[in-house]
């Protein structure tokens, strides 16, 4: 970089994403605390390690192929042509944002003086991948093997969420063009897909021993350590600030980008390169959190576990359109999402005997789906992209945001890329005998051997005289 102003812009952007990555790390810290707090004492250490090990597994696979998928798949392939090369094939040519540059053996996937952005952008997306896998992790505690979870974490974190991001969370994604899909802060592309995936796995995995009585009535297996759950959820809220900032491009000149001759317009944009402000989305984040907390407190009758989770569900429900909503719209949408998620959770639990240990399918899946559909009505008619405006199903232009497109988008996220792959992979692992821990181990506790070794050590130390 030889020009000071452009150097400042680039290095500001580099630092901006770096900060978001550090903040988003707190999401994972929060998920770990939350899960351990929700699990029983005899499963604590394995529960913690299961969630922790998704960090390296999703990271290395994100390096090897996850990031490549994001840049290769916006066209489907075969559904709508790329605006970069007008082809419907995988984007692996010489285009500026081609997957070619993000193969793991290219010089851009390393320290490179000519590229200050790829690494931090890669990392920001990677932290989203951890979140997707961690959402699934909470639902299935106390009975899944660490091996099976590792495979499932890679599938959701480095394959299916990145395909959905290429389709619906990319300036060139086919879902924007064909459907007018809009999901600025990932109601669908992270939360609905992860919730759907978790539900697919739960359908095969089955409930924890003792969750349902012989007559099928669900029993409450509440959080063992509500204080750890509380801190965990507060940390997830905190990390979510970083998530919101990471979904934006901090400084961008839309004039030349949109081909507007002689126009210069610097602004922050969302991932679709349409304008918003960090200031405005901060208000909406807080108002949707508040809407969720208020509704959650009422609907759960002050139950702390659900009230905290409802704050999260409120943000998740409003996230699809929080780049454009009025703060009061964000608050009300957050509240509506919470009521839907809470009611659906207990209905699904009773009707289908699904044991979602932390309510992840509800908080992320149902609230995410509700958020996408509501967004289609509230933002009906807004352009899904700044590059062009066209009709639905056309494909060569960008459709406007609309209720049908958002509804179909929600199905793609929750069902097509979430529930169905989760169910299929879980079925395969089950057939291999690798999905669920033995019944005897579930009863004894996954940590039994560790605890026994600790006890023996303690005895030896306490009886020692020198």
């Amino acid at each position: 970089m030889t020009d000071q102003l452009s150097a400042l812009t680039v290095i500001f952007t580099e630092f901006y994403y770096w900060i978001t990555v550090v903040l988003m790390f707190l999401i994972h810290v929060g998920f770990c605390m939350y899960e351990v707090g929700a699990s029983r004492y005899k499963h604590h250490q394995h529960t913690l390690m299961k969630n922790t090990m998704l960090i390296p597994l999703v990271t290395v696979t994100w390096f090897f192929f996850g990031w490549w998928i994001y840049w290769a798949f916006p066209t489907g392939p075969g559904i709508a042509p790329s605006i970069m090369n007008e082809s419907v094939a995988l984007i692996t040519d010489e285009s500026t944002f081609s997957a070619k540059w993000y193969q793991p053996n290219t010089e851009f996937m390393a320290v490179n003086l000519g590229d200050h952005i790829s690494g931090v952008f890669w990392a920001a997306f990677l932290l989203f991948s951890w979140t997707a896998a961690s959402i699934v992790s909470g639902a299935i505690i106390e009975r899944i093997t660490t091996f099976a979870f590792g495979i499932l974490a890679i599938a959701i974190g480095s394959v299916f969420w990145t395909i959905d991001a290429a389709w619906g969370w990319h300036f060139d994604g086919w879902m924007l063009k064909i459907l007018g899909y809009h999901d600025a802060y990932a109601s669908g592309v992270i939360h609905a897909i992860a919730g759907g995936f978790a539900l697919g796995v739960l359908m095969v995995l089955g409930p924890r021993i003792g969750k349902f009585s012989s007559s099928g009535e669900p029993r409450n297996i509440g959080p063992r350590n509500p204080w750890l759950v509380t801190i965990g959820l507060f940390l997830i809220y905190t990390g979510f600030w970083g998530f919101y900032a990471a979904c934006n491009i901090p400084i961008f000149d839309l004039g030349p980008e949109y081909g507007m001759e002689g126009v210069t317009y610097w602004t922050a944009t969302n991932i679709y390169v349409t304008p918003t402000t960090l200031s405005g989305i901060t208000m909406n984040f807080l108002m949707s959190l508040s809407g969720g907390l208020l509704a959650g407190y009422v609907v759960a009758k002050g139950d702390p576990f659900w009230t905290y989770s409802s704050g999260l569900a409120g943000i998740i429900c409003a996230s699809a359109g929080n780049d454009l909503y009025h703060p009061i719209q964000a608050m009300l949408i957050g509240a509506i999402g919470v009521v839907i998620a809470y009611k659906l959770h207990y209905w699904v639990e009773r009707t289908f005997k699904i044991d979602d240990a932390v309510g992840a399918v509800a908080v992320h899946g149902y609230a995410g789906v509700a958020g996408l559909i509501i967004c289609g009505f509230v933002l009906n008619g807004y352009p899904s992209s700044g590059y062009s405006v066209g009709a639905m199903w056309d494909g060569s232009t960008y459709a406007s945001i609309n209720p049908l497109g958002q509804f179909l988008g929600a199905i793609v996220m929750f069902l097509v890329l979430g529930l169905i792959p989760g169910w299929i992979i879980a079925k395969i692992l089950h057939a291999m005998g690798k999905l669920r821990i033995p019944r005897e181990v579930e009863i004894a506790g996954l940590d039994y051997n560790l605890m026994e070794a600790d006890r023996d050590s303690e005895k030896a130390v306490s009886s020692a005289t020198r």
Binding site: T61, E107, V111, T145, F147, E440, V441, Y448, E452
Partner: protein, 74 residues
Amino acid sequence: MATVTNWIDHLSAEEVVGAIYPGAGSSETLLVILGVVFWLGFHVLQNMSESEELSKLARKRHGANDHKSNVTEW
């Protein structure tokens, strides 16, 4: 192996080469192969060790409250 041996020469070149890690331009594919082997090797070893641990514990058939006798005071 060193890609850069003199920063003044490197940065004053007409076109500065961006990639500065050791083995730039010649070692990347080999590194990816090593990385994939390391990753898959983890799954193999983890699966073997977990299967052994789970079957050993399952054979003991402990009760639901037996773990309480293992609670330590430290």
